[in-house]
């Protein structure tokens, strides 16, 4: 026995039974604290990250009435316009919560999969659009799918089921591991978001106030245009959708009220589609176009054989070849273009591109009517005609439900826009002489939000998005969650401090004797308190290990908004160590009170 007292002073002073009781109670307290932390704080933090789409900084733009980025709808043109501001980066996002193989998954729309090659872990990235799906690593594990497997992906929002082939699995190492990527068109189908709209835009390089100031009111755009030729002056939004149109005969003066945006001013008639200007409208602006005054308009012609261009006075304009196009530099006026399909009158008053493959041959009249799905006639919609390759042939803002358009022979995609709705049809001219476009009525409005609110947007820092969503969904404020988390931590500090106090109080007389025999604070620290710290830290490590193991089992089976709960072992360990050290420090500072002199 001689010589052991100094080495085992804590054990001999406190006694084996007391120390064992203390250790057991402290361990149970720590384990409970860790589990409570894991069950409340970690899912809370995980929820926060999920609700902000995994983004850590920037501004999220949502529509005023939406509750989360997963249910928001904003115009794509707004996102594109913001991207035109200097030093501003914008990421448009089309996203939706869906169901696949019995699990909830979040799908994001992407335009092209090729950029994801660096994260590819299994399968092959699709090279074109189509019914494919790329799964994040954890999503693939959750829904037990294999490469090449055809899986039904259901969306309650759009009331639709889409069959998608698993093309690849990517390992992102972030929130996207819990998501799935699909072609943008598929994402729109699943989220019931029409063309021209997106879920949200994540913006960097500009603050919330600046965005809100930009969108809080409309701006006046005064257009003056003088022309010798008849045609239309069209204002297109950043997405290429015509918003306003005015007929130009000789000269016009128009004043439009438009929201903040990036606009393209186009002059067009049956044979010409010419971009006059682009404007980033963020204040009242007046612009004037004198299309006949351009000194040297350039006409570019796409043709295999050299075309011949004559001025109004009969003089031939010399052609040069640049980048596969025949280029004519002339003076403003009516020109006649001779090329293989025939002869065309070209009003050349501004630089323009002429594509004879579109205009070759005779133009045929096609009657177009646009109505809502309930049969009521549509009005004030935009009509866009593109070639299958995407070249715009015609864009018109139509005041009535029916109209006639002249198109040369060929295949076209005709689109009608009445935001947020759109309809499109593929037609073949002259086969199709009557075309009917039906704009969809509301498929579902699960949020029960009046649609007029969709035109409003709100911008908020990404860190507040989750708090907003949480408050919208459940009425729980983020402050309440934070308060709850702190209450739990405080409660367990108190519980563990009480357990530690039991040890000191039960050994009070013995500690007092040590003090009477001359034990200093330093002696108590090195012989009593530091051994206790070693014991409680060992207990904390064991409790953390057990709670981490149980958390892994628990959280792998739970999902929040289609995401598994992010689980950070370092955070649990940090919590456990902080709690233990706080309690120990409490004991350290209250120990002198437990010793009676």
């Amino acid at each position: 026995m001689e010589g052991t007292l100094a080495k085992l002073l804590l054990l001999r002073i406190a006694g084996c039974k007391r120390l064992a009781t203390f250790s057991a109670a402290f361990f149970v307290g720590l384990l409970t604290a860790n589990l409570a932390f894991a069950l409340i704080v970690e899912p809370g933090l995980g929820l926060d990250l999920i609700l902000r789409g995994g983004e850590k900084e920037g501004i999220a733009i949502l529509d005023q009435a939406s509750r989360s980025i997963y249910t928001s709808r904003i115009p794509l043109s707004l996102a594109l316009s913001l991207g035109k501001l200097p030093n501003v980066q914008v990421e448009p996002l089309v996203t939706s919560i869906c169901y696949a193989q019995g699990s909830t998954i979040v799908v994001r729309g992407i335009e092209s999969a090729s950029a994801y090659i660096k994260w590819l872990s299994l399968g092959r990235l699709p090279e074109s659009d189509g019914p494919w799906i790329i799964l994040g690593r954890r999503t693939a594990e959750r829904i037990h799918s294999q490469i090449g497997q055809l899986i039904p992906v259901a969306s309650s929002l759009a009331r639709t089921i889409v069959l998608l082939t698993v093309a690849a699995v990517c390992n992102f190492g972030d929130m996207r591991d819990d998501e799935a990527l699909v072609y943008e068109g598929v994402a729109r189908q699943l989220s019931s978001i029409p063309q021209g709209m997106i879920s949200t835009a994540l913006v960097q390089g500009i603050n919330r106030q600046a965005i809100e100031k930009l969108v809080e009111k409309n701006y006046k755009l005064n257009l003056k245009c003088a022309s010798d030729l008849s045609g239309s002056l069209v204002v297109l939004d950043a997405n290429g959708v015509p918003l306003r149109t005015s007929n130009v005969v000789d000269k016009i003066e128009e004043s439009y009220e438009l929201p903040f945006g990036y606009y393209t001013i186009v002059f067009q008639n049956q044979y010409l589609y010419s971009t006059l200007d682009t404007i980033l409208l963020k204040s009242d602006q007046s612009v004037e176009y004198s299309v006949i005054t351009e000194q040297h308009p350039v006409l570019k012609v796409s043709a295999s054989r050299k075309p011949v261009l004559f001025r109004w006075d009969g003089a031939e304009v010399q052609a040069s070849q640049e980048e596969g196009l025949w280029v004519f530099r002339s003076t403003p006026g009516i020109h006649r273009l001779e090329l293989d399909p025939g002869s065309f009158t070209i009003p050349l008053f501004h630089s323009a591109t002429f594509d004879p493959t579109i205009l070759a041959g005779k133009a045929y009249t096609t009657r177009v009517s646009v109505s809502w799905s309930d049969g009521s006639p549509a009005s004030d919609y935009s009509l866009l005609v593109r070639t299958p390759e995407g070249k715009v042939v015609l864009s018109i803002l139509a005041p009535q439900d029916s109209m006639k358009v002249d198109l040369p022979q060929g295949n076209y995609v005709m689109e009608a826009y009445k935001l947020p709705y759109s309809a499109q049809i593929t037609l073949s001219v002259p086969v199709a002489s009557d075309v009917k476009l039906i704009l969809p009525s509301i498929k579902s409005n699960v949020e029960k939000i009046p649609l007029q609110y969709y035109s409003f947007i709100k911008a908020m820092p990404i860190e507040t998005v989750s708090a907003f969503t949480l408050a919208s969904i459940s009425g729980i404020s983020a402050a309440l969650l934070i308060g709850l988390a702190f209450s739990i931590i405080f409660l367990f500090v108190m519980v563990l401090a009480a357990v530690q106090r039991y040890l000191y109080l039960s050994a009070k007389n013995r500690l007092t004797v040590l003090s009477l025999l001359g034990a200093s604070n330093q002696f108590f620290l090195t012989h009593i308190e530091l051994p206790i710290l070693a014991i409680v830290l060992t207990l904390a490590t064991a409790a953390t290990w057990i709670s981490l193991t149980s958390n892994v089992l628990l959280f792998s089976k739970l999902t929040l908004f289609g995401h598994t709960i992010p689980h950070d072992p370092a955070m649990t360990l940090q919590f456990s160590a902080t709690l233990t050290i706080l309690v120990w420090l409490w004991g350290h500072f209250t120990l002198p009170k437990n010793i009676e002199m």
């Binding site: 010589g3 007292l5 001999r12 009477l516 034990a519 200093s520």
Partner: protein
């Protein structure tokens, strides 16, 4: 012969809620080296307070306490603690032994607190147990020995640091006459070997063995 202990104008008042009790009232006392002083008086007269103030456990409200020429309460705390560890022995009322420890370990505790090596401790502990006449009880626990033997263990622990002055608070309380006599004999032997002893007691037998007796009442020294 110089003084082992000097108290000059020492006062100590306890405050209990709104009530104030003067435990020591203007105490002046000089104890020469190698003296065996007994402080007698009824309960509550201030005997224990006087011992605790004199031994450096309890600071007085005012006045000076000098031990072997060093003003105890003007010393920094660390030096006062060193003086307590190395020069002063204190025999507590009620023994204050740790029941789970053996006699050897109880006596060893002050040396562990001092940070002494194991070998040196072993030698000193056995010597201390021998000096109080219980060398064979080293491995016994307090619960296994008699009251007198407990007191001797406690005494051995008080002396283990090589004290030059011993403060003994009721050294013979709760002991039968024979055992009390044995403890007094030990104290006499220690005093004979050069140690200054200051004991607070109710016991007339202890007082009769002292070379000087001081009577206390209501915090004052009567004679």
């Amino acid at each position: 012969m110089s003084d082992a202990l000097t108290l000059s104008n020492v006062n100590k008042t306890y405050r209990n809620n709104s009530r104030q009790v003067a435990a020591l009232n203007n105490i002046n006392l000089q104890v020469p080296e190698r003296n065996f002083l007994c402080i007698v008086g009824p309960s509550g007269s201030g005997k224990t307070t006087l011992l605790r103030v004199s031994a450096g456990y309890l600071a007085p409200d005012n006045g000076d306490v000098t031990i072997f020429g060093q003003d105890l309460y003007s010393l920094p705390i660390s030096e006062r603690m060193n003086l307590r560890k190395n020069v002063i022995g204190f025999l507590f009322q009620g023994d204050q032994l740790l029941e789970d420890l053996t006699a050897y370990e109880n006596v060893e505790l002050p040396l562990i607190i001092q940070g002494m090596s194991t070998e040196l401790r072993r030698e000193r502990v056995h010597q201390a147990l021998k000096s109080v006449g219980i060398p064979k009880l080293a491995d016994s626990r307090p619960s296994e020995v008699s009251g007198g033997e407990k007191r001797r263990i406690s005494l051995a622990r008080s002396l283990i640091n090589g004290a030059r002055i011993l403060f003994a608070d009721e050294p013979t309380s709760n002991l039968d006459t024979k055992t009390a006599g044995m403890i007094i004999q030990v104290l006499r032997n220690l005093n004979a070997s050069g140690m200054t002893i200051i004991a607070a007691t109710h016991d007339p037998l202890t007082a009769s063995e002292a070379s000087t007796v001081v009577k206390m009442r209501d915090g004052k020294i009567e004679s």
